[in-house]
Symmetry: C2
Subunit: 354 residues, 2 copies
């Protein structure tokens, strides 16, 4: 049972000695740079293999300034949106030889700032950040000013000239609004997450709300902003919001969940309240998830190509790090309304479900 670990690791110097060449030549052969004769290269490589030599990336990073790793800062890796996007980012950057250093912020700006600083100190070659705040972004600006490539995920930051990998939400949001309006819904509750009063709303939330408002306006109607319920990502708070919306004096006849984590709670709360979907309350959710097709009725959703969004972010970041002067701009990927059974006419009327 080798409990050792004391055995000093071999270095280029060791390999050089073993191969009988200078340290520089060994380093060149090992690092695959500079000019090395075939003879020397093979001798060095053989020596390295014999010693089981492994290069010290830290040393390499120290004088090249490149760490071959990128930072990914998300709200919460257990949110399916982020885990899928992270997988996309990871797959994209690994292809270019980068590692992913992950940080969760729990959607708190202070945690985000700390994470970004730490990653900068670790000399990551670039960052993908899903900003928790649309206004508090000095730390992101600092990244840009330091010349470190940055790509935003899902959310844009006004005033920050940095592209975001995201879906084009508004058209689908509008389509969703039209669907609900056509079925007679006028009281539409919108549940999103926010720790306290996020002002302004994060851009994707703003787009969702804008689509809804736009739909109402087109019909000469006005959406009651009192039906917007920002609440912390806690089950109890979401349940309270649901109860409040559907049990109030002028109750909502339809509920929109801003993401699948919220959607889950909404559907569960409705079931426990004994309310039928869509007869009593229609439900529409952002982010398609496999389970959305499994429940009865299946949930109508606005689907986003989350993996692809992450992958695009990763590709872009890799290109920027690679020094691409003008990488193709990040185009918002289409979000699509998928009609399933959870949206129906107000009051469970006879009109066809959608």
């Amino acid at each position: 049972m080798a409990k050792a670990g004391n055995q000093r690791e071999f270095t280029v110097a060791d390999v050089a000695r073993e191969a009988g060449v200078s340290k520089a030549q060994a380093a060149r052969a090992l690092g695959a740079y500079g000019a090395v004769s075939d003879a020397v290269r093979s001798r060095v490589l053989a020596a390295a293999a014999r010693l089981n030599y492994r290069p010290n990336q830290t040393a390499r990073t120290l004088n090249t300034g490149r760490s071959h790793s990128v930072g990914v800062v998300v709200g919460d890796i257990e949110n399916p949106y982020f885990s899928l996007a992270t997988r996309g980012i990871s797959d994209a950057v690994e292809r270019s030889g980068f590692n992913v250093v992950l940080a969760n912020t729990s959607e708190r700006v202070t945690a985000e700032r700390a994470a970004v600083d730490m990653l900068m100190d670790k000399r990551v070659d670039g960052l993908v950040v899903a900003p928790a705040s649309a206004s508090d972004a000095a730390h992101l600006r600092a990244v840009v000013d330091a010349g470190r490539p940055l790509v935003l995920l899902d959310r844009t930051v006004p005033g920050l000239a940095v592209d975001a990998a995201r879906a084009e939400i508004e058209p689908a949001a509008r389509e969703a609004a039209d669907l609900l309006l056509a079925l007679g819904h006028r009281r539409i509750g919108y549940i999103t997450t926010a720790d306290g009063g996020h002002t302004p709303l994060p851009s994707p939330v703003a787009a969702r709300v804008a689509g809804l408002v736009g739909g109402f306006t087109d019909h000469g109607l006005t959406w009651d902003p009192g039906l917007l319920r920002p609440c912390p990502h806690e089950e109890a708070a979401i349940r309270r919001a649901v109860a409040d919306l559907v049990r109030g004096a002028d109750p909502a006849t339809a509920l929109i969940a801003s993401d699948s984590l919220i959607g889950q709670v909404v559907v569960g709360a409705l079931q426990e309240e004994g309310l039928r979907i869509p007869d009593d309350v229609s439900v529409l959710m952002y982010d398609d998830q496999p389970w959305a097709r499994l429940v009865t009725p299946p949930i109508t959703v606005v689907a986003q190509p989350t993996y692809d969004i992450g992958f695009a972010a990763g590709e872009r970041l890799a290109a920027l790090i690679g020094g691409a002067t003008n990488p193709p701009p990040l185009v918002p990927l289409p979000a699509t309304l998928i009609r399933r059974g959870s949206v129906g006419p107000v009051g469970g009327g006879p009109a066809a479900r959608s």
Copy 2:
């Protein structure tokens, strides 16, 4: 628009000059080590703040040998099991000041080996690995031999004296078997993932199967191993396995899904096959997920405290890195059978559902 990035970062030398002290003293004050007078410390700290100095972690790592980051190697971060566990690991190690470097292996040993090597080269202070193979573990042994702390996640490796953070699966698996047997099930299909013939089975799968087999044995029966279906993590393959099991000559009356990703597909496949749960086929799934309570009928599951498992792994790793001589051993956390509506008597008989 500061497109700069050329502005060389400030170093200890700069801070020292600005503070009018030696480089060594500045470094000591900045790094909070060695002996520094209060006067010097405050002068240095003030100078650092003035210059907006940020320490270069890479340099620090190079000569301390500590990177303050840990590697996490999982099969697939988009699998809810791993994303939740990763969050647990992350929360635990961040508490001790470590970052998480993430690597996905897609359950391929070659990818795992490459990831482990890369992380070792990056000088991570320790590793959490969910090994893809129970037999091919030379790279993990190398980690141990190098004296780098290692904690396994979910799966153990025979012959590797390394603790795994995991759930105690077998008792719950046995309980699940008893439940199914009591309801008259004899043909129980078990669907798990494996890319090709994993021999031996990964330990958690083995435990699940052992529980099943043990239950049969207790009743003087034998579980037909032909009902074990290892298939790749692809929807089509899983659907094929389901169809095969429930449509064969001697069809399975109950299906066990080895994780929630498989469970999702199984439930969907059954719905599309027009088979009712549990009247035509009973379903039991490993890993509880919120959606399991949302579908009709809700799914009977064996739940694991996944976040806690990850957290325990992270805590242990941090302790080992901290040089704890004898950190408390990792005790398997309890898995529990949660009876919901998806398991019923064979043939949809009148006996109470469970």
